[in-house]
Symmetry: C3
Amino acid sequence: MSGKIEAHLESLGITLPAAASPVANYVPFLRTGDHLFISGQLSKAIDGTLISGHLGDNLTVADGQAAARAAALNILAQVQLALGSLDSVAQIVRLNGFVAATPAFTDHPQVINGASDLMVEIFAERGRHTRAAIGVTSLPLGCAVEIDAIVKVAET
Amino acid sequence: MSGKIEAHLESLGITLPAAASPVANYVPFLRTGDHLFISGQLSKAIDGTLISGHLGDNLTVADGQAAARAAALNILAQVQLALGSLDSVAQIVRLNGFVAATPAFTDHPQVINGASDLMVEIFAERGRHTRAAIGVTSLPLGCAVEIDAIVKVAET
Amino acid sequence: MSGKIEAHLESLGITLPAAASPVANYVPFLRTGDHLFISGQLSKAIDGTLISGHLGDNLTVADGQAAARAAALNILAQVQLALGSLDSVAQIVRLNGFVAATPAFTDHPQVINGASDLMVEIFAERGRHTRAAIGVTSLPLGCAVEIDAIVKVAET
């Protein structure tokens, strides 16, 4: 926790959660060349509470945005663990945002903005990523949002 | 609109839509090395009409194919904006095709063929991509199909 | 079928299915640089039987794990066809696991472990991948699990 981005996080009042350990035969991150792949991260708050439910049913768009932001913070925790400091992020290349949602729900973009806005708040231009926002039936543990990522690593 | 592929498009009678601007803190395309990532594009027709609904409910497979083709045209509009000309496409590497569908629906491949066939019609071998076809609960704005892409850029 | 991994497969009693041919204008695999993209593979058993249904409805978690393992075997059949031998796999980089599931289903990770465990059983450290596990409405042909992959190819 020693880089410029970490100092920026502190000035924003943002604390990263502990990076979640995978509970099976996979890894939370893997680097190939200058790209870092991050496994799907769940909408778990920093106190460990799961943000669960379905958009269009028992969750509001604001709930969904908070869930997406929580998933994005879990992504950043993995990136920091992988790279040592968030300063080594050259670019957030890709976010795939999966939203547990009903068939009638239509505001997936607003939900995933909870993650996208965080990335730009933290990394500015380096945080502006491509993305997809998709409404799905259900997610692990009943969580509301799952997001995975591809990050380009700065040359050192 | 000046390349060989653009001339081929004209001979096929295909007009690309205007590239959609993102409405949030993300970008429609991003290049990293020789790969271009395209954000999820919706099934919006060239006149701006959204092709909405669910396969297995109020849309036929033919409707879905038209939706997939419309999403693919929006991908190509982004690729053209990113690269200047579609001649700079070395290979369509990947399409992820998400189809708003009921639990009983089974014809996702036929739906996504609306996009795949277009790519091969336009780019021939360079258009033959890997893909996944997935049935989801709902998509942004209620659209029927969303497709994202990874494109390899030709060395220049 | 001549490499060390193929011999390891034989010692494990694992037989790969025949690599499925795509039925449309796409390809089952595509290499770009040292990465091999594999199209979404379905939960089809080696005898050609489709493992179909929905988790949380008519399939148990054990059924889902068998489906995920079957999809993963189909991925490996494509990798072997693409590279000649599984010995050319440097790393399984990414698995996206899509599970046909009801809204109330929560055990997607356990289901996709059927694929993840197989990769590590076969490739040990080189098989430890990033992944996402997602519950979707429906999948092609009604199959229970679809998995796609990105594989890093060993330099030769």
